[in-house]
C-alpha cells in the first residue's frame, strides 16, 4: 500500500471554510468501520450543512459507499457517532432514520406501476387517498414524467427510471437525500443531462444531499463540496475549485484532473529544484534537500514565444523566472486544445504534459520536434511528498 499523506493535513484546514449556509445538519464523529480484519473506514469526522450538496468521491474500494450506508443505517459503523439534525442516530435502524435513497440499480419495484412505486412510501402515513394521488401527480410533474404514470419500470428508459427512483425517494419529504452512484448505469449523454437535472431539483427542494460517485466530473459539476476519500480516510474536503486548484495531497491532485509529477528536491520554503534548475513554487514546509514531487496541471503551463536561444542544447537555464526551453516530442489534437508532450534533460525520463489552446499553438507556430519556451508559474507549481510511482 502506498502511504499517502492523508487526513492529518485536512484537519489543518478549517472545516467551515466553505460552509454555504451555516447550520450543521449531519455530523459524523470519529467513525470506524471494519469488516473482519479489514478496516474500511478509519476515524472519519465530517460535518455536512443544511441544504448542502456533498459528493463522496474516490476510487472503488475507498470506503465512500460504506460511509453512505453507515449514514443510512444499512450497514452500521463499528464505532463512532452519526448525528442528524442534532439527534444521535448512531444505532438506529434505517426505518427510524429520516432519509430517502436512490441506488445505482434504482431498485424500482418491477411489478408496480410508476405511480404505485412513488406512492409506496406514502401509504400508511395518515395521508388520504386523494392526498397521496395529488402528491404522486406533483412528483411526476416535478420529474417530468406525468404521462408515464401507468407504465411499469421495465417500459421506461434508464434515465426515466432514474428520475422515478428519485421521485420515490423524495416523496415523503425526507430531511436527507442519499444518492449511491445514481448515474453510473446510464450512458454518457443521458448522464450529463441528468447531472444538471438532479442538481436543479436539489436546489429547488433545498434538501441536504449526499451523493457517492467515482466520477470526478460528476462531482465537480454537481457538488457544493466534495469529500475526496482514499483507503478509508478523507483526503480532502472542499469546494470543487479548492479541490481542483489547491489539492491537499498528491492523491487528490492525481485523482482529480491531470497533474504533471516531476521528481524534484526541496530548496527554500518557496522554491524547488528540478534537475539543476531552481524554480519558484508555492510555499511548502519541506526541509531543504528533501526529495519531493513538484506538480503542475497541464493547463497551467504557459507557452511563450521562442526567443533566439543563447545555447543550443535545451536545458533548464531560466531566462525569465520559472521559464525554460523544452522540445515538443509529440502533439495530440483533442478538439478544443492541443496536448503536448514536452521533453527536457532536467526532467529525466518524465515528460511534461502541457495543454495549449488552439490559438496559442497557431500564434506561436508550434510543431512537433521543435523547441519552445514554457513557464511554470510560481503560484501553480506545488510540492508534495515523494512517493514511489506505484
Amino acid at each position: 500500500m502506498v502511504l499517502l499523506p492523508g487526513k492529518a493535513k485536512f484537519k489543518d484546514i478549517p472545516v467551515n471554510q466553505s460552509n454555504p449556509s451555516g447550520a450543521v445538519y449531519l455530523c459524523i464523529e470519529d467513525l470506524w468501520k471494519s469488516f473482519g480484519s479489514f478496516v474500511a473506514l478509519k476515524d472519519i469526522s465530517l460535518n455536512i450543512y443544511e441544504s448542502e450538496f456533498v459528493c463522496f468521491l474516490g476510487p472503488s474500494g475507498c470506503g465512500k459507499t460504506t460511509l453512505l450506508r453507515a449514514i443510512a443505517g444499512l450497514d452500521l459503523q463499528t464505532m463512532g457517532a452519526v448525528l442528524q439534525d442534532g439527534k444521535d442516530i448512531s444505532n438506529l435502524p434505517p426505518s427510524e432514520r429520516d432519509f430517502g435513497i436512490v441506488f445505482q440499480s434504482y431498485a424500482l419495484f418491477p411489478n408496480l406501476t410508476i405511480e404505485k412505486n412513488i406512492a409506496f412510501g406514502l401509504e400508511n402515513t395518515g395521508r388520504s387517498k386523494s392526498e397521496t394521488a395529488a402528491r404522486v401527480a406533483e412528483l411526476l410533474e416535478l420529474v417530468g414524467l406525468s404521462d408515464q404514470s401507468r407504465k411499469y419500470p421495465a417500459q421506461l428508459s434508464g434515465g426515466q427510471q432514474q428520475r422515478i427512483a428519485l421521485a420515490r425517494a423524495i416523496a415523503t419529504k425526507p430531511g436527507l437525500l442519499l444518492l449511491d452512484e445514481p448515474l453510473s448505469a446510464l450512458d454518457a449523454k443521458v448522464r450529463v443531462h441528468l447531472r444538471h437535472e438532479i442538481k436543479e431539483l436539489q436546489r429547488k427542494l433545498g434538501v441536504t444531499t449526499v451523493m457517492v460517485t467515482h466520477d470526478q466530473e460528476e462531482a465537480l459539476s454537481m457538488a457544493d463540496r466534495i469529500v475526496v476519500m482514499n483507503h478509508g480516510v478523507i483526503e480532502q474536503v472542499g469546494t470543487p475549485t479548492e479541490i481542483y486548484r489547491e489539492p491537499a495531497s498528491l492523491f487528490v491532485a492525481d485523482f482529480i484532473g491531470e497533474m504533471n509529477q516531476l521528481k524534484a528536491t526541496a530548496a527554500a520554503h518557496d522554491s524547488v529544484s528540478i534537475g539543476d534548475a531552481s524554480l519558484k513554487s508555492q510555499t511548502h514546509t519541506f526541509a531543504s534537500g528533501d526529495t519531493i514531487i513538484a506538480a503542475i496541471r497541464p493547463e497551467d503551463v504557459i507557452p511563450h514565444a521562442h526567443e533566439a536561444s543563447s545555447s543550443d542544447a535545451p536545458g533548464l537555464q531560466d531566462a525569465q523566472e520559472n521559464t525554460f526551453e523544452v522540445m515538443i516530442a509529440e502533439m495530440e489534437y483533442l478538439g478544443s486544445f492541443w496536448r503536448c508532450r514536452l521533453q527536457n534533460a532536467g526532467f529525466g525520463d518524465t515528460e511534461l504534459i502541457a495543454d495549449f489552446s488552439i490559438n496559442a499553438v497557431r500564434r506561436l507556430n508550434l510543431s512537433e520536434n521543435s523547441t519552445m519556451l514554457v513557464e511554470l508559474p510560481q503560484d501553480r507549481l506545488m510540492a508534495f511528498d515523494y512517493v514511489e510511482a506505484p
Binding site: P5, M79, N91, L92, P93, S95, G100, F103, T125
Partner: protein, 673 residues
C-alpha cells in the same frame, strides 16, 4: 506545504456500536425462529432420537434378580438364588435371548423345571439392586422389597430389560452377515445403476441439445414422465415383462428378474429424468465461442467432443452421478417390489422395523444408510457450487447445425430410450386393464375396484390427493417464507447460517430414515407432539420436511435474483418489510412459488419411503396401496393404482401449466416491455 504525518490504521479499542433492532427486524427474527423451530422439531430432534436409539441396548441382567422358593407347605428355608445362577444351572436363555429390544420380556418359570401353576409352592422375587424391573401381569415392580407370589401369579412374572448405551447394536449388525451384506449389495447396485443411467441420460441430453433431430419437445416430455410415478411402478412393469409368467421372459436367458437385474433396470427408469435434467442444464450452457475456436483450429469433432463438450459438462455429469447414486441407494419401493431375496439397506430397515419389530436394529441400519447418502450429498453440493463459478455472462449459446446422418442416429437412440420409458408405463396400463394375466386377456375394469383389495381402496387415492394438496400449500408457504427470511433479513449471521444448514439437511436424509426417526420421536407418549401420530398432519409434516431442500433452493435462487436493495428502499420509506414481501416479493417470484408447489404435490403423491412407517388405517395412501396390493399378490390393481398416480400427476402438471400461464399473464404484465 505538507509533511507526512502518521495516522493510526488500527481500530481503537472500545465499545462497538450495537444497532437497535427495528420492529421489522424483531418480527422477521421471530418468524425465522418459528420456522427454525419447525425444522428442529420435525428434523433435528427425530434424527437425534433415532441416533440415540441406535446406541441404546436393552438387556435383561439376570444377576439383578433374586428368588426364594418354599417347600410344598409354603415355608421358605432362606436360600436365595440369583437369576444368573438359575440360568447357569438350567441353560434356558442364551446371551442372544437376553439382548432384547425395548419391549423385551423374559418369563421366569422356565428356571424351575418342576414348576406347575397348580402346585402349592410359593415363590419370592425381588430386585437385588434398585432400578431393576419386573412385571407381575402389567404391574411394574422396581423396588428391592421381596414379593411373595403363589405359583399361579408367579407364572405371570416377566423380567424387563434395562437400558444402557453402547456399540453393541453395531457390533451385532456387523457380525450378522445377512445384514451387513446389504451394504455391499446396495453399493454395487447403486454404482451400476449410476453408470448406466448417467451414460444413457448424457446421450439423450446431448441429442436434445446438440442435434437438429425432430420431435425434441416430445422426447423431453417422455424423459420427464418417470418423475410422475412412484419408484416401485417400473418394478411392477418388469414383473409383467420378465416375471415368472412374463411376456418377454426368454430375453433374460433363465436369469430371474427378481433381484439385482430388476432393481437396476427399474432404477434406470425412475432416476433417468433426474440425471437428464441436470446434464441437459450443463449442456445447455456451453459456450459456442469455444466450438468456433475448436473449428478454426481444425480440431476433429471427436477431439472437440473430448476437449470442449465433456469438460464443459463435467460438473453436470458428476452432479448427476451423485444424485442418481443417492436416489438408488435410498430407494425403498423398487427393491421391495422386485428385489426378491436380494437384500438392500433401505428394505432392511423396513424388514427390521415392520417385520421383526426390532426398532434398535432398524435405527442401526438407518445410520449405516445415512453415511453414503450424506457423502454423496456433500460431494454433489461441492460440485454444484463450482459449476456456478464457471458460468460467464458473455457466453454465446451454442446453436447446433443439421447433420443428416448424426441426426438420424440420435433420433433412433432417443426413440429406443423413449420406447423403454413409455413401454414400461404402457405395460402397467395394459396390465391394469385386462382381466387376469396371462390366462384371460379380455378387457375389464375390475382392477380399479380398489375397495375390494387390500391397501385402503379408493380412499387411499383421495387421501393421497389430500396429502399432495396440503403438502403443496403448507410446504410452499413455510419454505418460501423461510427462504425469504433467511435471505433478506439483516445481521443475525450465526442464526441464518444455522437455518441454512437445517434447510439443507433433509436432502441428505433418506426417506426411510426420516420415517423411522418420526416413529421414535412422535410415537413416544411422553412427547406432547405425539397427538399428531397416526393423523394426516404427520404425513404432511413429514412430506414437507422430506422435500424441503429442493424447494428451499428453488426459493433461494429466485430470491437471489431480486434486487438486494428492495428491503433498504422499503425501510427508508418506513414501510413494513412484510408489506414489501406481499406486494413485491411474492408477485415477482410467483413462477418459482408455483414451481415449488407442483414439486411438492408430485412428490407427496409418489413418495413411499418416509410415509410407509407413518400412515394409519384412516390415512392410507395411494403409493402405499400400490406397495401393499403388490405385496398381497394383487399386482394388476397395484399397476392400476400406480397409473392413477401417474394420470393425477400429469393432470396436476397440466393444470399447473395452464394456471401459471394464466396467473402470469394477469400479474406479470410488467415483464413485457
Amino acid at each position: 506545504m505538507t509533511t507526512h504525518s502518521t495516522i493510526t490504521h488500527e481500530l481503537p479499542a472500545g465499545p462497538v456500536v450495537k444497532g437497535k433492532l427495528s420492529r421489522d427486524d424483531i418480527i422477521m427474527r421471530a418468524c425465522m425462529g418459528v420456522i427454525a423451530l419447525y425444522l428442529v422439531l420435525t428434523l433435528a430432534f427425530p434424527l437425534y432420537t433415532m441416533l440415540s436409539k441406535s446406541f441404546s441396548i436393552y438387556r435383561v441382567d439376570l444377576s439383578q434378580y433374586e428368588f426364594q422358593v418354599s417347600n410344598e407347605n409354603g415355608q421358605f428355608d432362606g436360600t436365595i438364588v440369583t437369576g444368573a445362577e438359575l440360568n447357569a444351572k438350567t441353560g434356558v436363555y442364551t446371551a442372544t435371548d437376553l439382548s432384547t429390544s425395548a419391549d423385551g420380556r423374559i418369563a421366569v418359570t422356565k428356571f424351575f423345571p418342576d414348576f406347575s401353576f397348580r402346585s402349592p409352592v410359593l415363590y419370592q422375587i425381588r430386585n437385588a439392586v434398585p432400578g431393576g424391573r419386573f412385571l407381575v401381569g402389567s404391574t411394574l415392580h422396581n423396588d428391592t422389597n421381596w414379593l411373595e407370589l403363589n405359583s399361579n401369579d408367579f407364572r405371570r412374572v416377566q423380567l424387563r430389560p434395562v437400558k444402557s448405551t453402547g456399540l453393541a447394536n453395531f457390533v451385532n449388525y456387523f457380525s450378522t452377515p445377512a445384514l451387513f451384506n446389504s451394504i455391499k449389495n446396495s453399493i454395487w447396485i447403486s454404482v451400476l445403476s449410476t453408470i448406466v443411467t448417467v451414460s444413457l441420460a448424457f446421450w439423450f441430453a446431448y441429442a436434445l441439445n446438440r442435434s437438429c433431430m425432430r420431435f425434441k419437445g416430445i422426447f423431453r416430455l417422455i424423459a420427464m414422465a418417470p418423475i410422475l410415478v412412484p419408484s416401485l411402478l417400473p418394478g411392477i412393469a418388469l414383473v409383467y415383462l420378465f416375471g415368472n409368467q412374463g411376456m418377454l421372459r426368454e430375453l433374460l436367458f433363465g436369469h430371474s428378474i427378481y433381484g439385482p437385474i430388476g432393481i437396476v433396470i427399474g432404477s434406470i427408469f425412475f432416476t433417468f429424468p433426474h440425471a437428464f435434467l441436470i446434464i441437459s442444464t450443463a449442456l445447455a450452457i456451453s459456450d459456442s465461442r469455444l466450438y468456433e475456436a475448436a473449428t478454426s483450429l481444425r480440431a476433429t469433432p471427436w477431439r472437440t467432443f473430448w476437449t470442449v463438450t465433456i469438460p464443459g459438462a463435467r460438473y453436470g455429469l458428476i452432479s448427476a452421478a451423485f444424485v442418481v447414486f443417492n436416489l438408488v441407494i435410498t430407494d425403498f419401493g423398487l427393491p421391495k417390489v422386485i428385489g426378491g431375496q436380494f437384500n438392500v439397506l433401505a428394505v432392511d430397515i423396513y424388514k427390521q422395523v415392520i417385520g421383526q419389530q426390532n426398532f434398535e436394529m432398524g435405527a442401526v441400519v438407518s445410520v449405516v444408510l445415512v453415511i453414503p447418502a450424506i457423502l454423496a450429498f456433500a460431494i454433489d453440493r461441492m460440485v454444484q457450487s463450482k459449476q456456478v463459478a464457471s458460468l460467464s455472462a458473455r457466453s454465446v449459446p451454442y446453436q447446433p447445425s443439421p447433420n443428416a446422418k448424426m441426426d438420424r442416429i440420435f433420433f433412433a437412440y432417443c426413440t429406443l430410450v423413449g420406447v423403454f420409458i413409455v413401454g414400461l408405463l404402457a405395460v402397467c396400463q395394459f396390465a391394469a386393464l385386462i382381466k387376469f394375466w396371462p390366462y384371460d386377456l379380455s378387457f375389464s375394469l375390475n382392477n380399479y375396484q380398489f375397495d375390494k383389495m387390500d391397501g385402503g381402496g379408493w380412499s387411499s387415492y383421495f387421501n393421497s390427493i389430500k396429502l399432495g394438496l396440503l403438502t403443496a400449500v403448507a410446504g410452499t408457504c413455510i419454505v418460501f417464507f423461510g427462504a425469504y427470511l433467511v435471505e433478506k433479513s439483516n445481521g443475525f449471521k450465526t442464526g441464518r447460517a444455522l437455518f441454512q444448514m437445517l434447510a439443507m439437511l433433509p436432502m441428505a436424509i433418506p426417506g426411510m430414515v426420516l420415517g423411522l426417526a418420526y416413529i421414535f420421536f412422535f410415537n413416544n407418549p411422553s412427547n406432547p407432539l405425539s397427538v399428531i401420530y397416526g393423523t394426516m398432519a404427520i404425513l404432511v409434516i413429514c412430506s414437507v420436511t422430506h422435500f424441503y431442500t429442493v424447494s428451499h433452493l428453488t426459493a433461494v435462487t429466485a430470491l437471489k435474483q431480486m434486487d438486494r436493495e428492495f428491503e433498504s428502499v422499503s425501510a427508508s420509506l418506513k414501510q413494513p418489510t412484510l408489506k414489501l414481501f406481499s406486494r413485491v416479493t411474492v408477485p415477482v417470484c410467483l413462477p418459482s412459488v408455483l414451481d415449488i408447489s407442483i414439486y411438492l404435490f408430485v412428490n407427496a403423491m409418489t413418495t413411499v419411503s418416509a410415509v410407509v412407517f407413518l400412515y394409519s388405517p384412516s390415512t392410507t395412501l395411494a403409493s402405499i396401496a400400490v406397495l401393499n396390493m403388490d405385496d398381497a399378490g394383487d399386482i394388476a390393481p397395484a399397476a392400476a393404482m400406480g397409473m392413477m398416480i401417474f394420470y393425477t400427476n400429469a393432470a396436476a402438471r397440466i393444470i399447473h401449466l395452464i394456471a401459471s400461464r394464466g396467473i402470469l399473464k394477469r400479474t406479470q404484465a410488467w415483464r413485457s416491455r
